[in-house]
């Protein structure tokens, strides 16, 4: 329905389901502190095997399939990680760590990557996982006939071949330092060579027993699961609960042990319910107001700066995200990213500066912002607040309400000033490539700077951390100074769990997709 193309899968889409996220508090540290029971116990106790774990997730549809090429939303992605593994996993700091690959190494120019596979891992059908299986699984998402959501960002791979029983070599079209991130994507699950992807034969912690699309999935523990300290419950039942109220009441009544996507508006009520814990994870997801840099009056940077200085970010985080989020600084790199430019001054609400830039721009008259709640939760309210902020700088903002239906096809990237959201990407490269590069498919601000593109390609091939950081810092500065995106806020993910389960590992860019193998019961 009102789904934004490209926010989720595909094109660097590691990860984030394309639906909008409801966010919550703050930095990594704060989130851990908010769920002491859950996280604390994960370290304090030795988990026990057993129990029937029930998850209630949104993002399910009657048209879902087990084929990872079709995954677009949370439900199917979570089921994917029940039966399958990737070569690479992301840890709590969003750094790639070994999963089915034991180690990997890049050539000096980052154009050839060699992945060494873990030995002795077997598929659910008893066959051992070897290099040809990996080649088969990766190629499923490539080639002209592929309909996979991962096709776009796997285009970087020129050739993938088995160079040993336990060794796979990737030759890239253009050098990329981020290949391990790409291979951690939920689409690229490894299956035995020649198997049907819809049969979901993997190396994962659970074996799918029954899969009713849009209703329910039942999986039994894989007795031969290779990963230490994962896959505790005897069985996992995943219920499709797209309706927020249904999810919440199911958690409150104990019908499920874990739910995703809480509503910031009601989360404080839920926190008071007995037996329920709220988990708050910072995300790379952000809400934006987008100006088309190729359309007057937004082609004038003074006008863009006026609109950037004229927004009260704190108030938006407070009122729209109810505090479950962080203020943004008009570039899309989240504060927990290793390449986050920490020396860039944080833009604040300054009506005088806004007024100054507006006068410099020479533009007079009202500005129209086209918006619908499809853009992000509370978008219309946010626009009304924004209009009040700008009024103090003497700028008249007219909020034009658009219908939710068709917003992403008729308004977004069509009208010159609109609301939008991004689920975020695990790396700066993927985020910039998908929405900031001149020829990016979703360059929603139509901001085209060849200097920026050059830096982006240079940074992608750079393996040295410090040098790479310099490049990304420069790019963030360019977007901050000149770009067409007003990014007032980053949202957080909110999950709910019963107090008798623990072990959830909050990874900022993953929407809890690997929760099935992490949770265990504390009352066994």
């Amino acid at each position: 329905m009102a789904e934004k193309p490209g926010t989720g899968s595909g094109h660097g889409g590691l990860l984030l389901p394309r639906r909008r996220f409801l966010g919550s508090t703050a930095l990594l540290g704060a989130s851990a502190a908010l769920a002491p029971g859950l996280l604390g116990r994960a370290w304090a106790e030795t988990p026990k095997r057993g129990g029937h774990l029930k998850l209630g997730l949104d993002g399910a549809a009657a048209t879902d399939s087990l084929d990872p090429a079709t995954y677009t939303a949370t439900y199917a992605q979570t089921v994917g990680y029940q039966w399958g593994n990737c070569l690479v996993e992301l840890d709590e700091k969003v750094q790639p760590i070994p999963e089915l690959a034991e180690s990997w190494e890049a050539s000096a120019d980052a154009s050839v990557w060699v992945f060494k596979l873990r030995k002795g891992v077997t598929f659910h059908n008893g066959k051992e996982m070897t290099a040809p299986d990996v080649v088969y699984s990766v190629n499923h998402h490539r080639g002209p006939d592929s309909k996979s959501g991962a096709k776009g960002y796997l285009e970087v791979i020129k050739e993938v071949k088995a160079t040993g029983k336990y060794e796979v070599t990737f030759e890239l079209e253009t050098p990329s330092a981020d290949l391990p991130y790409v291979l951690s994507d939920y689409h690229v699950l490894i299956v035995p060579e020649g198997s049907d992807f819809t049969e979901a034969i993997g190396t994962g912690p659970y074996v799918i027993e029954s899969f009713e699309p849009g209703v329910r999935t039942l999986a039994k523990r894989n007795p031969d699961y290779w990963k230490e300290g994962r896959g505790w419950a005897d069985s996992v039942e995943t219920l499709a609960l797209n309706d927020l109220t249904a999810r919440t009441s199911a958690l409150q009544t104990g019908a499920v042990h874990f739910i995703n996507r809480l509503d910031p508006k009601t989360v404080n009520l839920l926190e008071r319910a007995p037996g329920v814990l709220v988990i708050d994870v910072p995300s790379a997801g952000h809400y934006t107001f987008v100006m088309r840099c190729d359309t007057p009056p937004f082609d004038n940077n003074h006008l863009r700066l006026a609109l950037k200085w004229g927004i009260d970010r704190e108030e938006l985080v407070d009122k729209i995200l109810r505090g479950y989020g962080r203020i943004g600084n008009d570039h899309p790199i989240p504060d927990f990213d290793p390449f986050f430019n920490s020396e860039l001054p944080q833009r604040t609400y300054d009506p005088d500066k806004a007024k100054f830039h507006m006068e410099k721009s020479g533009y007079e008259g009202p500005i129209q912002l086209h918006i619908a709640d499809a853009a992000f939760t509370g978008a219309v309210d946010a626009a009304q607040l924004y209009a009040q902020h700008l009024a103090k700088a003497g700028i008249k903002l007219e909020v034009v309400r658009e219908p939710n239906d068709g917003y992403w096809s008729n308004v977004w990237m069509k009208k010159p000033f609109v609301g939008s959201y991004w689920g975020g990407r695990p790396t700066a490269d993927l985020m910039f490539s998908v929405a900031y590069k001149s020829d990016a498919p979703w360059n929603e601000s139509f901001w085209k700077r060849p200097e920026f593109d050059k830096l982006l390609i240079e940074a992608r091939a750079e393996l040295d951390f410090e040098k790479r950081k310099q490049l990304y810092w420069e790019m963030q500065k360019m977007v901050w100074e000149d770009g067409g995106e007003i990014i007032p806020m980053f949202n957080n993910y909110l999950f709910g769990s019963r107090d008798n389960v623990a072990g959830f590992v909050p990874v900022p860019v993953l929407t809890g997709l690997r929760v099935s193998e992490q949770l265990y019961f504390t009352d066994l």
Partner: protein, 318 residues
């Protein structure tokens, strides 16, 4: 030809005509939905070329009326088409869902109809007393609230506060009948609260109406008991309108469950339809729409025929 057979045939023809009109309306309605199917299928990989290829692939580039005739003829042959989103035959997709919806409607009817008629009879028998008023106030209050509101109140009280019943009606193949019944407790209660008032009021009104007839007076003067008069003499003559309203409510139980299914996450046709609309899976929307319409038309037809059978005056219409 027996006049009754003729009448049924006439009604059937009329029903078929209605369905044809409805099918055209459904087709037109889905045609003007905003958003593009090809784009919905392709999602993020929607380049203009790919969209054009898919449109051609699905025959969406042909004029609407040709696609309508195509769809209609397929439908008449029992071919519901295939889902655009995952290419599964729609018949397969719908079978289990329809079964679930009919199960829910069946359980709700098995509970609500006897309760409503009994309440109606009791209310008529003791009309204008506090009992009659209490029954009316309670049932009419229930029908005055929107279904989702009743549903949420029931969830809050009986699932969240008292833990008596599950808040979500999760059913799946292989579940025992008793488990199934337990799972659908709240949806059945919600549906019942919505339909009871209508049937109850009609039963009461019909009986009260008949009770005013001279022959009831005769029966009274003959010395029959109130209960006997009500059940043996008044009820049979009041049956026709009661049957009518009962069957119309049965139709509502099947086609009106969309909201209830969504609130309780019940895997029925309504939920499937909502899913399909969200995915712009037009053939599924059309198929579910036409099935709902057919159910409605058929049950209305049944209501007419039963009403005729129950009423000799209509049966022998001159």
């Amino acid at each position: 030809m027996h006049p009754l057979v003729k009448l049924v045939a006439q009604r059937l023809a009329l029903g078929a005509g209605t369905l044809l009109v409805v099918s055209a309306l459904i087709f037109a309605g889905t045609e003007i939905l905003p958003g593009d199917v090809a784009q919905a299928i392709l999602g993020q990989s929607a380049t203009p070329e790919a969209v054009a290829a898919i449109r051609e692939d699905l025959g969406l580039d042909r004029p609407a009326w040709i696609r309508y005739l195509d769809w209609l003829s397929g439908f008449l042959r029992g071919d519901l088409g295939t889902s655009l989103a995952n290419r599964v035959p729609i018949g397969e997709m719908i079978a289990g869902r329809l079964e679930n919806t009919l199960f829910l409607a069946g359980v709700a009817a098995a509970f609500a109809v006897p309760v409503a008629i009994t309440l109606g009879i009791v209310a008529a028998r003791y009309r204008e007393t506090w009992l009659d008023k209490a029954i009316s106030i309670v049932t009419l209050s229930a029908i005055s609230m929107p279904e989702f509101f009743i549903g949420y109140i029931l969830i809050f009280v009986f699932a969240v506060k008292l833990f008596w019943v599950p808040s979500i009606a999760s059913v799946f193949p292989g579940m025992s009948f008793a488990d199934r019944l337990y799972a659908v407790t709240l949806p059945v209660a919600t549906l019942s609260l919505v339909v009871i008032a209508h049937m109850m009021r009609m039963t009461r009104a019909a009986i009260v109406n008949v009770m005013a007839s001279p022959y009831i007076e005769t029966a009274e003067l003959k010395g029959l008991t109130r209960a006997r008069i009500t059940l043996r003499h008044a009820l049979p003559n009041a049956l026709s309108p009661i049957i009518n309203v009962v069957v119309i409510n049965l139709a509502y139980l099947v086609v009106g469950v969309v909201v209830v299914e969504v609130v309780f996450v019940y895997p029925g046709m309504g939920q499937l339809m909502v899913d399909a609309v969200a995915k712009r899976d037009v053939p599924v929307v059309q198929a579910t729409g036409i099935i709902f319409a057919a159910t409605y038309v058929l049950l209305n037809l049944t209501a007419d025929v039963l009403a005729i059978l129950a009423n000799p005056r209509i049966r022998h219409a001159r």
